[in-house]
Amino acid sequence: MPETSAEGTGTIEALSLVPKAEARQSMKDFKSDQEVRWCPGCGDYAILAAVQGFMPELGLAKENIVFVSGIGCSSRFPYYMNTYGMHSIHGRAPAIATGLASSRRDLSVWVVTGDGDALSIGGNHLIHALRRNVNLKILLFNNRIYGLTKGQYSPTSEVGKITKSTPMGSLDAPFNPVSLAIGAEASFVARTVDSDRKHLTQVLREAAAHKGTALIEIYQNCNIFNDGAFEVLKDKQQAEEAVIRLEHGQPIRFGTDGARGVVRDAQTGDLKVVTVTPENESQILVHDARSASPTTAFALSRLADPDTLHHTPIGVFRSAERPVYDTQMSEQLDTAIEQNGKGDLAALLAGGDTWTVVG
């Protein structure tokens, strides 16, 4: 867990260039004067409250925080944050945020997106932001449905989903956003659930401290078009067997009294869920989010059944150190000045080959 202090983020290296707030902040400092217009009961409310509640902990000057979003229900988010914000166009928020973050390293830049925005129309920008490792924190609200266009299936909907556009069931296999992100060379990937404020806040905390792009998939309930999509992960009894809580450095165990665990299959090298016994207890995988290799994090992301969501890991899958794009971009500018001196426009325009016409 990253350290925080009353003074704010003095110890968080990832935010060292972002000015600190002069006074202590509270949640209401981050509420804008705009009326929130999500449907009553939408999971977005909980996420908004969690983010607004978490921001004071960072202690950043709020004028140096920017929320950028695309299009969709979740993308209204910036209007409700009393920071700088841009509600852009469908799918393009990671690209816009990349330009902002790489030209302004004194900003804390957050992207808010949804499963359609990030994974359908904006899939290209998402994967490239992740591979570049720009200093962005991406909150991907996944409700497995298109809400704003009133209920078509999304790229994370389960196969066979009956919706307005798929009366006989959807045909396309869903993306697993965590697998996708790890495959796209993401340096930080986590999953959390809208209703678990404590867990959500902890994941935000770790993402904020991460240097580079952080992707947080947030399972979010759309109570109008896909109500109960994550109920199995929320219902206390079912969740015991369905949810695998990942904690760095801890054995991956879940179920009643930790009766179940994750081991590596000696034959295939893949991961599998077993009932923990005294014989196999020593083989239970210890979660290593910091591992340079993404292999095990990817294998963890494949444990969940896309239909039933059984064995869904939540928490930080991967949090690895990798060069950060905007840092390196700035370093190249500094190096260029060291090597060639600060740009001299007159010399540039003149070039090497000139001739003079005299009167």
Binding site: P19, S32, Q34, A61, K62, E63, N64, I65, V66, I71, P78, Y79, M81, T83, Y84, G85, M86, H87, S88, I89, R92, A95, I96, A97, T98, G99, L100, A101, S102, S103, R104, D106, L107, N124, H125, I127, H128, M329, Q332, L333, T335, A336, I337, Q339, N340, G341, K342, G343, L345, A346, L348, L349, A350, D353, T354, W355, T356, V357, V358, G359
Partner: protein, 642 residues
């Protein structure tokens, strides 16, 4: 004779590199006022490099010049075929010229394909220098020559110089430790040396260039220099070249100043860096590689010591998205592309219209639709620039008229974007981008002041007396909204593509507000201050020729021809396509006839007819090449007489 040289190794001695060679003076020298040379060969023959070098020599000599590179889209099209021919045309003169010239006086044909592809453009009597080594039976058959054109009398009307360029080059380099194939590669430098002798070009620049280009391969540098000198000496020695030519510097054509040769894309890149300096804003380029715009990305990426950030994006949309994001953060945001890229960027341009942030969208137009003709020129994106977005989304349009003018056009586009907080389209094209001409290097204090004032504090007082910041409260004169960048305390605000309430910028679906905002955005663009259109009309003509963009050179050359022939014609050229200059309607009304030549099917004509109800006559060419002055003069004459 070859007294300067005793052996190839000595020839390439670095100590003598850069020495100016002078003809020995044993041959006739004729004075010419202008020459058009075309170098043509296979895509891999180095014709663009040869042309570039001849151009540099010519520029440093002080001639006026204009160039036309013409090459296939394929990097290495099949060798020896007609589609694989790459050429470089250069027009240079002792006076002010406007175009790369209609018809070459001299063709250098490195192979049968180059001869066949270009012979049709040559007037009778033109000189042809052919590389006879490449005229093998097989090579000739490949392009459909049944008999050798060098022997069947088909070139009788021309002055043909058969030169075994390959053999001579290999012979000149025999003392170098090179394979035959490696040695053959220097034949373009042999040709360059020969032409440099013929036209008394200064040679030291080319020798220095070769030394530095091949700094890491000194043997290759030495071989190329040796081939270059051998070509020069061959001209000096051989009987076949009895005459050499002098074209005096164009001293009277140019205003006093220091000059250099510059291509459109280079001038545009420098214009962007200059705009960044004059605005005191960091430059951010978001771009995706596309012909013929990529050279701007390449150039700007070399100048990080000017604080220039270049971002090679994953696609066209991300290129403009990142530029817009940077603009939100207070950078001078730029995206560079060609027509297909503009199509992809349309939605983001619309967002920039709605956000009212400054942004430069540079379209180096090429042949379309779709992939079209990537390496050829066209100006058929005007209506796309004007209307290619959903909703009412007006965007100012600026067009440079010559390669060097791309510098000023970039500054002008930046001025409009920064003053009015709007995306601006700059329409260059392939001809301007790759063509070059002399440019008077401006003094820095001649450059416009583009400094901007970011919003610093509240700009509005509510009824209860409290001071607030309204992101859409406009400047009453320019209608520009404040530019409040993140990091400014107290001005936290949210903007987006949804319709905004006038003033507050909050989401608004109010019918009356939307109507007001649509009209206000349009009024802002319509109100942009642009200079009046200047008309060149010395004889009170009845016919006006109106152009825009890269047709300036050919149109002006055609107008000169007509006036020389005693015709009266007025000429005007538009730099601003949106908004048009205030006086355009009045100007058009003064003439009985208005002719608009364009490299499209009449896009400016459509705009002019719609806006001013003028029965403008459209003259069009969409063959991927610039207009020829003679053809245009004929068309204008017909219009005058009609």
């Amino acid at each position: 004779m070859t007294s300067q040289v005793s052996s190839p190794a000595e020839q390439a001695d670095e100590a003598v590199v850069g020495e100016q060679r002078k003809p020995a003076g044993t041959k006739d020298v004729r004075r010419l006022d202008r020459v058009i040379i075309r170098f043509a060969g296979d895509s891999g023959d180095g014709m663009q490099l040869t042309g570039d070098r001849f151009t540099s020599e010519t520029a440093s000599f002080g001639n006026d010049l204009s160039t036309l590179p013409n090459f296939p889209a394929e990097i290495r099209a099949p060798a020896g075929t007609l589609p694989g021919v790459s050429s470089f045309q250069l027009h240079f003169a002792d006076h002010d010229i406007l175009t790369p010239g209609d018809a070459p006086n001299v063709l250098v044909a490195m192979n049968p394909a180059a001869l066949k592809a270009n012979i049709g453009d040559l007037p009778r009597g033109a000189e042809i220098i052919v590389n006879t080594d490449e005229f093998t039976k097989r090579a000739m058959q490949k392009v459909g020559y049944e008999a050798s054109p060098l022997e069947d009398g088909s070139l009788d009307g021309y002055s043909v110089h058969p030169v075994p360029l390959t053999t001579l080059t290999v012979e000149a380099l025999k003392e170098f430790d090179l394979t035959r194939k490696e040695a053959e590669r220097s034949k373009n430098m042999f040709a360059l040396g020969l032409l440099s002798w013929m036209y008394h070009r200064p040679t030291e620049g080319t020798e220095k260039f070769l030394t530095s280009k091949f700094a890491k391969k000194p043997a290759i540098a030495a071989a190329n220099i040796a081939a270059f000198r051998a070509g020069w000496n061959f001209g000096e020695t051989t009987e076949d070249f009895a005459v050499s030519y002098e074209i005096a510097p164009a001293t009277t054509a140019f205003p006093v100043g220091t000059y250099r040769n510059i291509s459109g894309n280079l001038a545009l890149s420098y214009g962007l860096i200059a705009a960044s300096r004059q605005a005191d804003l960091p430059l951010f380029l978001g771009s995706y590689p596309i012909t013929p715009a990529s050279d701007i990305l390449h150039e700007l990426s070399k100048h990080k010591n000017f604080g220039v950030r270049t971002f090679q994006a994953e696609d066209e949309i991300a290129g403009i998205g990142a530029a817009l994001g940077a603009a939100f953060g207070g950078s001078l945001g730029v995206t560079t592309t060609s027509g297909p890229g503009v199509a992809l960027k349309s939605e983001t341009i619309g967002l920039a219209v709605s956000l009212e942030l400054p942004l430069l969208v540079i379209d180096i137009q090429r042949g379309g639709p779709s992939t079209g003709l990537p390496t050829k020129t066209e100006q058929a994106d005007l209506l796309q620039a004007m209307f290619g977005r959903n909703g009412e989304a007006p965007v100012p349009i600026v067009a440079p008229c010559t390669p060097a003018d791309c510098f000023d056009a970039a500054l002008e586009a930046a001025r409009i974007a920064l003053t009015y907080r709007t995306p601006v389209m700059l329409l260059s094209d392939g001809y301007l981008a790759n063509g070059s001409e002399p440019w008077r290097i401006p003094e820095l204090d001649e450059l416009p002041d583009l400094t901007v004032q970011f919003a610093q504090g509240p700009n509005h007082t509510l009824q209860d007396g409290s001071e607030v910041f309204w992101p859409y409260k406009r400047d009453p004169h320019t209608l520009a909204r404040p530019w409040a960048i993140p990091g400014t305390p107290g001005l936290e605000h949210r903007i987006g593509g949804i319709e905004k309430e006038d003033g507050t910028g909050n989401i608004s679906y109010s019918p009356a507000n939307h109507d007001f905002m649509v009209r206000t955005r349009q009024a802002k663009i319509d109100g942009i201050q642009v200079p009046d259109l200047e008309v060149d009309d010395p004889h009170e003509a009845k016919t006006l020729v109106l152009g825009w963009g890269s047709t300036y050179g050919p149109i002006t050359a055609a107008v000169r021809r007509l006036r020389k022939a005693g015709e009266s014609i007025a000429q005007a050229h538009l730099r601003h396509l949106n908004p048009f200059p205030r006086n355009l309607g009045v100007v058009l009304g003064r003439y009985e006839k208005v002719v608009i030549p364009e490299m499209n099917l009449g896009q400016l004509a459509t705009l002019v007819r719609a806006k001013y109800l003028v029965d403008a006559h459209s003259y069009n060419q969409v063959n991927g090449m610039p207009f020829k002055a003679e053809q245009l003069a004929k068309a204008l004459k017909e219009a005058i007489d009609a």
